[in-house]
Amino acid sequence: MTGMGEGLSEELFELLSFMISSAQGLFEEPQSYGPLRLLEAAKRLVEIMEKHGLAGEAERRIRSLIEENIHLVLSSEEDFKAFVDKLVEELASIIASR
């Protein structure tokens, strides 16, 4: 592969590594780290999509919501959970309008 394809495949490979090493860690980590890692993976996926012109308004909105709220996992599990619920509602509206 050359050019953009090479960059894209390396970026996706980094995401793949993140997902596999997360799976290993999650056997021993706090339960809330499961949602945390999945949301981080989602955020990284959108970042790659954005970089390669594949993201639309909806993906960007999802990324910025994750970015703004992901830290809640450290301060309050309850608030973190409420945020994930809200994010899914937001996602449902996006899905409905497609």
């Binding site: 490979f13 590594s17 090493s21």
Partner: protein
Amino acid sequence: MSIEEAPHGGGCSAEDLLRLIKTRRSVRVYEAGRVIPLEHIRMILDAGRWAPSGSNIQPWVFIAVRDGEVIRKIRMLSPGIFSFPSAIIVLCIDREHSRRGGRMGDTMALMDVSMAAQNMMLQAHALGIASCVVLSFSKNGVARLLDLPEHVEPVLLLTLGYAKIRPKPPRRRGLEEVAHIDRYGRRFK
């Protein structure tokens, strides 16, 4: 000033030290591409080396990673690293040393390395370098990546860089909640 010549208290004011301790934050987003001078890395490692250790065994091995490509690869195996640090110190336990601690060896070694990590973070902070300890990384993955011998086990990563986002101080439980005086239940006020 040599260590032997330093006055009691090391010549550092108690207020300054407490401020340093309280203003250290776990920073997770760093300025991209800014290099940490090798002299500063040396001071940070030196601070780690001077941590206390059970029976003065000093069971640690520190690997300072500055090569961007190696940092990228460690990050691929470390879900607990959120952005791109300028350097990573991999703090390891050398089982050939920790074994001398007897049955307590393993527990003690973890405590020793944790103390070294705190020293490093404070030294980094004093140099204007932000840091974050990371436990969420693949131990066997990083060991393989860095060619660690069987008896050297990575236990903690310390990411270092210049803060792009300085987080607000996470809440601390109050002193009266966590500290007791003379006996359990007599709250420290």
